[in-house]
Symmetry: C2
Subunit: 467 residues, 2 copies
């Protein structure tokens, strides 16, 4: 399926590889951790840096859009063909927290290339995948001899994705007119593997909360009082233990109400993938598969809703022992959601379930962060076919279909803009998102550049965007 022009695109990209990577590394050095208030200035700096880079790339419009939290970056490059479809690329410029002592082999904010991999926080999630659009659009212009893209190209790169996108929906609603698009391309997902390129057709949603439990007004002696008052750490543990039933199904009443179940065709498509549980476990750095009864591992991570504890704390955590009943305890929970689940309904269900399960004498507070909705792309959408063709050309082989277990605010774009959501990502599972030693494979990163170089022309050619 290689086109005659593809060699030219590859040569163009290869020639600009060093400058492209230098630019990415400069961006990765900015520790734009949106979850940590002391990095707020870095997140702003990251937005300014990106806007300047997009201007340098050729986007006639490149703006930093403030929000009540971290700023987003918006850029626009209209097609010279007024009837061309409008495409909005979504990504994010903020990153997960990272510290050398978490187990990194190099400073997470000092990018380093080892064995053709670029290691840094954000290398894959998501700066690398945003950044391939800069060289991608230039390659598209060079290959087609155009001075403007074949589609009306818009970029919206937000700054709070790793904090649950608390202001994203309001921003999209407020700026809906400028963001108007015929399709949304999300570059914040991955592929099956370097050998099996895939296109993602859906993403789980996310609701998360912190529950703080209060027992005695201060830590008290476990000898003098132990066995006779409720212990908030015990209460926290019992809550977490009650999250699942004996089939590892989430036991919160109403949790599964209304979910869109997998079809037989989707289960069959999943089953076609060359899944190797041993290899998957090694990517997960884990020692056993474990989850909801009646579902395969792929179904569990892509298409089933979950409840996980991301953090738990209470009492004495230092060396040795301290024989206390702690005054308080805390759990951070997150719920991955699938199509049909409404985050507001999930929040209500979790609040009711928590309040009902706590014993007398344990007071509590729950804070929910902003939720992210789940989304699904129709398998037969013409724009999805363009994405599949562009990926096939870049990788020189057929692509298969996956879903994404992680979450992004794509569903808000779908809902507010009324546009279908497509996914174009080149990260692989071993990239270590949210983990120490996050990296991106340089060869795949350049395939991402290449796929976008093909995509805009294909979309303009094959898709009539008129409703």
């Amino acid at each position: 399926m290689s086109h005659p022009s593809d060699d030219g695109v590859r040569a163009y990209i290869e020639c600009r590889r060093e400058a492209f990577l230098d630019g990415l590394c400069e961006w990765l050095r900015i520790p734009s951790v949106s979850a940590q208030p002391d990095h707020a200035a870095d997140v702003r700096r990251s937005a300014d840096w990106l806007a300047a880079k997009l201007t340098e790339t050729g986007f006639p419009v490149a703006e930093v859009w403030p929000t009540p939290g971290a700023p987003a970056v918006y850029a626009e490059w209209p097609s010279d063909h007024p009837d061309a479809p409008t495409v909005l690329v979504y990504g994010h410029h903020d990153v997960q927290p990272a510290a050398r002592e978490d187990g990194w082999h190099s400073d997470p904010f000092e990018p380093v290339v080892r064995e053709n991999r670029l290691y840094a926080r954000g290398a894959a999630d998501d700066k690398g995948q945003v950044f391939f659009h800069t060289l991608g659009v230039r390659a598209h212009l060079a290959a087609t001899g155009r001075t403007a893209p074949a589609v009306h190209l818009k970029l919206l790169i937000e700054g709070e994705e790793e904090s649950g996108s608390p202001h994203f929906r309001a921003l999209v609603e407020e700026r809906a007119e400028r963001l108007a698009a015929d399709a949304v391309i999300v570059s914040d997902t991955g592929m099956w593997s370097a050998d099996t390129p895939t296109v993602c057709t859906g993403m789980r949603g996310l609701a998360e909360c912190e529950i703080r439990l209060y027992g005695p007004d201060q830590d008290i002696h476990s000898g003098s009082f132990g066995g006779a008052v409720p212990n908030p750490a015990t209460a926290a543990a019992r809550l977490v233990a009650a999250l699942h039933d004996e089939h590892e199904r989430v036991a919160i009443p109403g949790f599964y109400d209304g979910i869109v179940e997998l079809t037989e065709r989707e289960r069959a498509l999943f089953a076609e993938l060359p899944f190797d549980e041993e290899r998957w476990l090694s990517t997960a750095k884990s020692y056993a598969a474990h989850g909801e009864a009646g579902h395969t591992t792929l179904e569990r991570v892509w298409a089933r809703p979950t409840a996980e504890v991301n953090g738990i704390a209470g009492g004495y955590q230092g060396p040795g022992s301290k024989t206390i009943i702690p005054s308080e305890a805390m759990v951070k929970l997150s719920f991955r959601l699938v199509a049909g689940q409404d985050p507001d309904r999930i929040e209500k269900a979790v609040r009711a379930w928590t309040a009902e399960r706590l014993p007398a004498g344990i007071r509590h507070e729950i804070d929910f962060g902003a939720a992210t909705r789940p989304c699904l792309t129709p398998l037969d959408h013409p724009a999805l076919r363009s994405v599949v063709r562009a990926m096939s050309r870049a990788f020189d082989r057929p692509v298969r279909y996956t879903r994404e277990g992680g979450s992004g605010p794509a569903a808000d774009l779908q809902e507010v803009l009324g546009a279908p959501v497509l996914f174009l990502g080149i990260s692989v599972p071993s990239d270590g998102w949210h983990a120490p030693d996050e990296k991106v494979e340089l060869d795949l990163l350049l395939k991402g550049v290449e796929a976008t170089a093909y995509l805009w022309g294909d979309l303009a050619e094959h898709w009539s965007h008129a409703p």
Copy 2:
């Protein structure tokens, strides 16, 4: 029951009150926290300080006894009456961890008097109660006109009680000849209240462990992998939740095997005490009573074995959220034991129970600290009667009987030395052992001095120690 000589004893003590408190404050300024390795030098300094003070008090022998951990202090003052019984006083000079930011209203290691209470870590547990023996023996000599005590007086003040006394038993076994005694007096317990002086007749034992659970080799993305691998924080929570059954009985198989149940007489003695649950809850800084079905609060804290979680940790505990499955989790558990429970058997039971409950893919390690055995004093022991009389004289009213929910290595002394263990303590429940704002009531502290001033004569007079 006031003796004619008691006014003299009181005047003697009152006259030396300031110097006595100055000495105690000097000792309390030494942060002898045995559980924290960076305080090891302070624990040694505390031992040196005490040995010097006992020499100054008049003890002809005062030695620092090294152990593989923190040192103990031993002192001896033989009676001038060779046939006198030998009494060994037990206490400890190490203290619980404490930091201003835990909620203290003043520096925990800068003693301060507010409203006739002395606030400092160790004020009640246990430096204050060790220290009253210094002025007590001087008051005994002054009141009786003796130059040596009426009993052969020995003191053993250990330095690792707050760390579970890991080297205490070996020390006692090694030095058993010098420690030989007809009775042990433990000054490391409390009374019912300032208005209801009591003598304690038993102490719970303690076994404690830290369980570390390992899941993925590093933190992994809860979107990419959530729902499909075991989460060690979930496993930790399920362990803690499984500690108790629905009647709040400890659910570890074999836990209750062989325990000495309360007699009807003991339950009746407990029931005689002026227990006010609201007041007790206020001392416990707690909002509800909660515990093993079929037992009163006093039975639960004094005479029933327990399992408590003292600390739990896993995953992200910082601000905001981090959507990970944590690599590891940890729980610190402690078990209070009653007569008939063997710490070695409990350790075996906990290890087996833990190993059996963890899912595939979760590896674990358990470390048990040194255990403390439970002990009970026979209610009709003649030395116990002397203690009761001395306390009654000091407080000018009858004393009642309690037990102690906390733990001490008294049972090792009982076992190795073959001597009965008695308790003489003046702390009250509001003293805040192990908690912020630990204090001792100055009036009660001086009653402790007074009680020991009477005790040595009473024991010599009423108790034939010959077997």
